[in-house]
């Protein structure tokens, strides 16, 4: 690997800041996973890590290696694209599994279930289709 001292000071500071930002956001997401109460609340916490948490670290990596190799290194863009495209799949799988379980158990916190047909979905008047 190339000598790290080659990095100009402004780039080093920027990279350090972005890595720290990404790491802190991911850590907060992990803390949220412990702290939040219900399953549906906890599902929100890791998205911090998959958006700006990962984003900060990836941008820092792009700047770092682009500066060292004096050519644009951009394949981190692919990582962020794949993360963005794949997280909804897992999230929906988890959320629907939880919803299925809670409905089977008749949990109270759930919204009114939409039966097939002209079922009433709630107080919102714009709901009718």
């Amino acid at each position: 690997m190339t000598d790290m001292a080659d990095l100009p000071i402004w780039a080093a500071l920027l990279v350090a800041f972005l890595v720290l930002l990404g790491a802190v956001l991911t850590l907060i997401g992990a803390v949220g996973l412990l702290r939040l109460r219900s399953f549906y609340e906890r599902v929100h916490a890791p998205t911090l890590g998959t958006t700006f948490g990962a984003g900060g670290i990836l941008v820092a990596s792009m700047i770092f290696f682009s500066m060292l190799e004096t050519r644009p290194v951009l394949h981190e863009v692919l990582i962020s694209v794949f993360i963005t495209v794949t997280t909804p799949v897992t999230l929906m799988l988890l959320a629907r599994a939880a919803l299925y379980r809670d409905r089977a158990e008749g949990a109270e916190c759930l919204p009114v279930r939409h039966e097939v047909g002209p079922a009433n979905a709630g107080p919102d008047p714009s709901q009718g289709d």
Binding site: G29, V31, H44, T51, P88
Partner: protein, 161 residues
């Protein structure tokens, strides 16, 4: 002629860009990536997927500009809420959103947007009623139905028609 060689130009272009990003830019890689892109999109054509048509590039641009800002703002909001602990408890809950968007690609992109905005999670989509069940971490006083519909669904409808 163009149709038969490149049935899915956007797909072929994305594959070529991906190839270049992975292998670096050079004439050889450009040629090799081009061959891979054309061959792979020809295989894809055999599956006959629905062809998404981007109708409005300005709406794409507008959406691409507001998204990072929204994602950043909700990152901050969710972080604050987690760090506030039990003192700053907010009310979370489900919101049912009646959608007008029916295009599959549009819905997929809406799912990516909603998932990658911390604080909102896509829970269930009912294709019969075309309603989306959303879980929101901080319900607040926001009108979530209006927010999702005007901020994200409207531009997606303009893009995919």
């Amino acid at each position: 002629m163009m149709r038969s060689v490149l049935p899915y130009p956007l797909l072929a272009l994305s594959l070529l860009v991906m190839w270049i990003l992975l292998n670096g830019l050079s004439v050889g890689q450009l040629l090799l990536g081009g061959v891979v892109a054309v061959a792979a999109s020809a295989v894809m054509a055999q599956l006959k997927p629905a062809k998404p048509r981007l109708r409005n590039w300005r709406a794409v641009m507008r959406l691409a500009l507001i998204l990072p800002v929204d994602i950043f703002r909700s990152n901050m909001a969710v972080s604050r809420q987690i760090l506030a602990g039990t003192g700053g408890r907010k009310i979370s809950g489900f919101v049912a959103i009646p959608l007008a968007l029916r295009d599959r690609t549009g819905l997929a992109i809406l799912a990516c947007i909603i998932t990658s905005t911390p604080g909102t999670a896509w829970v269930e989509y009912d294709s019969n009623r075309n309603t989306l069940l959303l879980h929101v971490l901080d319900l607040g006083s926001e009108d979530w139905i209006k927010l999702i519909k005007t901020r994200y669904e409207q531009p997606l409808m303009e893009i995919f028609g």
